[in-house]
Structure formats: structure tokens, C-alpha cells
Subunit: 384 residues, 2 copies
């Protein structure tokens, strides 16, 4: 179902020859309206890929007719010629759709610092346009994979019968400020661009923004939301945000369990925080602690490494009031030794770390993975 | 030579049975004066081990007669009983030296969250006191090792004939704010505590503070400087700081090449920065990028990951004016593709990454290691 679950969208995914292994590497998602309202959030990295620079301009107009996505090359750090390549891609898609290039978003993923093979890519846009169908969402999700082992898709039905669909890619470089490389969300609800923007920022701040697999922030991260309005349903913003957040959380979960080389999916819940910001700060600090991530890989409930990570933050807390539970066992109480660490069963893939700051009423959950030999191998054995 | 290179110091290292493998685990370093001026810097972690809390009080008085150091247990997150253990250790050392416990510093290293075996430790203080000699510096350096594969020592002679000696331990948990677990520096120059404090802060800010092996900040980091004044030489602060920095840089280098599981020693030199702070910020961001550290392990000159890391900082720079050299080859120029990456030879253990921000005249070097399967193995296979 993916991005074509809502009415008004067609999609396709083809093998354009950008990757040299013959698999799908180019996706096209088209909004046939009647609305083409859109919003997006982009990477917070100051080094931004050409497609990010381009799509930011496109989305600032509040309207997106279609998005072209490619794997096999990030088109980042490619200078003015790389930006021209993105522009050419948008013009090509505009031509085949008989529409304006100014309403064509572009997303790229793959190795930084190499130019895209434009002949292959432009021919691929023709092929993708010819292949557009109402059930092409899965092929599109397949085409944006890099080291992702599975295509990542989701959909939910909202009140009144509108749909939200989505696809995502991202298996490494999951990021502190925005967790995934590329996400396309679609809906047949009828909301204007400014409402979509508010709903999208609220949804991503509680989902993708709280996934931090390796602390590395991509140059290409993009989450694009397009609305066709094809059902004519005008949902309330709160209800729409809730449903959109469900889709984003579902995709976040899929990204988490498919993260490169990970053997554990770790949920870090920080409770008793003075503010939500404090809870997120503490959660992120723990999520980025390599020593803890290695310990979890080794199924060692090393709560001292949790406290070490908490201690590097400026959150409100007193060291002797910290409590830590690992998979439900309170191994640290009042900043010191708690229950017997031998009671902790770390064999399941899902790991829950709870940190009680004893400083207030707020909480937040940050997701991360363990650090494994396989992660190192995948990220050192070849360029990505 | 180590900490007993300067006149006025005796040291020893004994096997007290704190570790269960029978190796040395307790060190004692005694300043016989005539001066006992001292200064120290401690971890910036807000979760601080009992010996850090204790030694901070001791050093605030500006005088240290001796320091007791143990491996085999960090005495961190052990609550009030753990603090009492440290206090008891200082009282015991005060007794055997016929001196005040209030001038005995204590340092501990090892696993967080376990109490020390005090019977063994206190008997060890007796044994260490009986074993104190003018050439005990190497035994002391040996006794503070945890996963360190070698003892780390250094010394330099200053103008007028005074000496500075030092020992260090630290192979993991090298830290952003202070790079090593434990360092003891000694000198027979005659400087008051406030001058020692200024010199020490200047020296550590350019050495240990710029070593960032895995971004993890310890609960126990301590750098202690003790002056006996035994030569009567009163050096100028600038000259003393320069010599002290040399000793600290020598120890920093030894920590770097012995970091757990590392196969590369990486020097990240940031030039063309608007401020030194910007240069350090950018250097640290690169030093903590797991994806880059994996690439260097794989001998892949993946400069895109360098730019990604630079882009996450708030330093002054324009993305299209960034230049990056890896082992002397400018693989990135003006934010885009530069010289052929195949020219980069990453086989040597020493790796030099130079980042030119093109934003000013300032520079700084930050040192780090690669991220290897062995690092993961060492930190997941057992508690540490």
C-alpha cells in the first residue's frame, strides 16, 4: 500500500542503472490532486545535498506535484554541477508529467561526493513515468533502499475515511536531528500547506527526531508530506497529527529494527524529568554512548555506563537521586547499587532502559541500537 | 623514571588482591617535600566517583602529601558507603605516613557500581608504604593499569635543572572534557599551588582535553600535579607550562596509541578557523563520528563523512569553501570533489585529517582512534 494507499497518488520504482547491481534505484511518486498541498522537514546538517537545497525551494511554495527519488548516489558535496543535475532531473520529470519543474521535489541517497550518472537517471525517469500505477507504492519503496534489508511502508485510516500512507529508507546514518534519510508521506485528506507543515513538524518531533542509531546526521535527510485532497475530507489538525504520528512511529520502528548491524532495539525512556527537553537530552546522551551500546550488545546490564552518560548532560538532576531500570529490574537506586544485576534478562532483541531523574513530571523516549562488530564491518568494508 | 624522576618523591606499586588476577593493583606516590604544593583537574562528569569528590576537597587546600591509587574498582555510584571507603583509605595512608588524611588524595579506576574490597585494599596500603622507593615510579605506573597494555610514563628536564615526571592510565573511556582516567604528575620545581593550578589547566587544555577516543566521559578522571620544591628551582610559569605540556602531550600520545581495540591513531587538524574554540568544536565532531571512524578502520578516505560531521557544528564556515586533506591528499576542495581519492594511502597506523574551514586564522588538533570490531568486542565481552 505504501504511498499509494491514499486516493490521488500513483507511484513506480524501476531499475535505471544508477546502482550497478541491477536492482531498482529510481522511484517516482505523483500527486494527481485535486490538491497538491505539501510540507517537508529537512536535515539540520549545514552541509546539504543538492536535492535538499532544491526541494527546500520547491516546498517553500507549498505545492508539490511529484517527487523523484534515487538510490545509488547522494548527490551531496558535488558543487554547482551536482545542483544542475538535480535541476535537470526536476525538469525532466516536469516534462514527462507536462507540469512545472518548480513543483517537482527530488531526493537522493547513497555515497557522498560522486556525480550521478545522468543519462541513466533521465532515462529512468521516462521508464518510471511509463510505469506509474495506483499500486506502485511497494515498488517505489523498494527502489529507495540502499543497505536497507527490507522495504519500509505504513498506512493508517483516519476519521471520515481519509488515508495516510508512507514509505521510508534508512539503515545507517540515522540522525540526531532527523532520524532517517528519506521518507515520503501521502494523504487524500484535504489540508492546506500551512496545516500540513504544523502537523508534520509535530509528528516528526515525536518519532524520527527521537531515533538516534549512531549519532550521525545525514546531508540528505528529507521527510516530505503530500496531500491530494481526493477524499474531500478535512480532518481536524489534532486528529490528523495523531494519525500521522502513528504512521511516523511505525516507520521509525521499522528503521530501528533494520539499522545496520544492530542486534538489539533499545528504547530509552527518561521519566521524572524537569522538562521534556531535559528528558530528550538525557535520552540522546545515553543513545550515543558507545560503551553502553557495546555493553548491551554483550547483554551486560552495565548501568554505570548509563549514569556516566546522564552525568555529561546539563539536565536538572541530583546524582544521588538517579534510578535506572534495565528490562524492568531497578539495578540502580538513588545513584548507587540497586537490585541484583543478575536478574536482568538481556537476551530478547527489545531492550528497555528506564532512567528516573527524580526531578519532575516530564518524560520522553529515545530509540537506539546496540553497537556491534557487524556495524563496524558494514561501515568499514565498503564506502557508503 | 615516571613520577619518581623528580627529587623528593617516592613511589611503589603492589598486588593487594583488589583485582583477582594477582597483578599489581595499588600504587602509592609520596611527596617528601620540602614543599607539598599541588593542583588538580577532575572530570566534568556530574556523576563523580567517591575518590573524585574526596580528592577535590583535599586539593582545594593546595597541599597534597601523597596519593593512593587503585585499579580493580572505580568506587563510583557506590553512595555514602563508597565515600566512607575512600575516607578510610586516606586515613589509613595518613596513619602509615604519620600525616593528616586531609592531605592524602585518592584515585580509583575499574568497574562502576561495586564496592572495593577494603580489607585487601587497606593491607595493600601497608605493603605499598613498606615498598616505597626513589625508583618505584614504574611499579606505580604498572599498578594503575586496567585494560592498558603498557605502563605509560614520561619525564622532561626544565631550565635550571628541575624535573617533571608523570604516569597515566587510560585505554577506554577517553573523554571529551578530560581524556584520561588517571594521571599523576610530579615536579621538584618550587611553585605555589595557585601557579601550579594555572600551569596545569593550560597544559591539560592542549593535551588530554583534546584526546577523544570514544566520546565517553568517565566518572573518575583525575590529573594531579604535585611539587616537592626539592631542587629549589623556581621556574617561570611560561617555561614550566611549556615543559609540563610536553609531558602531557607525550602521555596523551601513549594513551592514544594504546586505546582499546584501535588500529589507527588519527590526528584531526582543523585550520582556517575563526576561533580556536571553533577549531576544537569541529575537530571533536569529526572525532566522534562513528561512520568516519569505521571508514578509517577500513582504510577508506571517505571525506563525505568528514563534511557531514563538520556540518553538524555551529562553527563559522561556508559549505562550499571547505577543504579536506587525508594523509596529505586534498580529496575535497571547495566543498566538492578534489584530488583522486585513490591517491590516499591509509595503510600506516598514523592518519592525518586536515580540515580547512576557510574562515579565519586559528587552528587546533584533536586526536582520536578508529572504530573497530575489536573495540566492540573488548567493550561487550566483559564488564569494565
Amino acid at each position: 500500500m505504501s504511498v499509494t494507499a491514499p486516493l490521488g497518488f500513483r507511484a513506480s520504482g524501476v531499475a535505471a542503472g544508477i546502482k550497478n547491481n541491477g536492482t531498482r534505484d529510481l522511484a517516482l511518486v505523483v500527486n494527481d490532486g485535486p490538491s497538491r498541498a505539501a510540507a517537508a522537514v529537512f536535515t539540520a546538517n549545514r552541509v546539504q545535498a543538492a536535492p535538499v537545497l532544491w526541494s527546500r525551494q520547491v516546498v517553500s511554495g507549498g505545492r508539490v506535484r511529484a517527487v523523484v527519488l534515487n538510490s545509488g548516489g547522494a548527490n551531496a558535496c558535488t558543487g554547482a554541477p551536482g545542483f544542475q543535475d538535480t535541476h535537470t532531473t526536476a525538469e525532466k520529470a516536469g516534462d514527462v508529467l507536462a507540469d512545472s519543474a518548480g513543483e517537482i521535489a527530488v531526493c537522493s541517497t547513497g555515497l557522498i561526493g560522486i556525480r550521478l550518472p545522468m543519462d541513466a537517471l533521465l532515462a529512468g525517469v521516462d521508464a518510471a513515468a511509463a510505469d506509474l500505477t495506483r499500486d506502485g507504492g511497494l515498488n517505489a519503496a523498494d527502489a529507495i533502499r540502499t543497505t536497507d534489508t527490507v522495504a519500509k511502508i505504513s498506512f493508517r485510516r483516519g476519521e471520515g475515511g481519509y488515508m495516510i500512507g508512507g514509505m521510508a529508507k534508512g539503515a545507517g546514518m540515522l540522525a540526531p536531528s532527523l532520524a532517517t534519510m528519506l521518507v515520503v508521506l501521502t494523504t487524500d485528506a484535504d489540508l492546506p500547506a500551512d496545516a500540513l507543515d504544523r502537523c508534520l513538524r509535530a509528528a516528526t518531533s515525536h518519532s524520527f527526531d527521537r531515533l538516534d542509531a549512531d549519532g550521525c546526521l545525514s546531508t540528505n535527510d528529507t521527510v516530505l508530506l503530500m496531500a491530494s485532497g481526493a477524499t474531500g475530507v478535512v480532518p481536524g489538525e489534532a486528529e490528523f497529527t495523531a494519525k500521522l504520528t502513528e504512521v511516523c512511529l511505525d516507520l521509525t520502528r521499522q528503521l530501528l529494527v533494520d539499522a545496520e548491524g544492530a542486534s538489539k532495539a533499545i528504547a530509552i525512556e527518561v521519566v521524572g524529568a524537569d522538562t521534556v527537553a531535559d528528558a530528550v537530552t538525557v535520552g540522546r546522551s545515553i543513545a550515543r554512548n558507545n560503551l553502553l551500546k557495546c555493553a548491551i550488545k554483550g547483554e551486560d546490564p552495565n548501568w554505570g555506563r548509563v549514569l556516566s552518560a546522564v552525568g555529561t548532560t546539563d539536565a536538572v538532576f541530583e546524582p544521588d537521586r538517579l534510578n535506572v531500570a534495565i528490562n524492568g529490574v531497578w539495578v540502580c537506586r538513588s545513584g548507587s547499587v540497586g537490585e541484583d544485576r543478575d536478574k536482568v534478562d538481556l537476551r530478547p532483541r527489545d531492550v528497555a532502559i528506564t532512567v528516573d531523574l527524580s526531578a519532575g513530571k516530564h518524560s520522553a523516549t529515545v530509540w537506539t541500537t546496540d553497537l556491534t562488530e557487524e556495524y563496524v564491518h558494514e561501515n568499514s568494508a565498503y564506502s557508503s
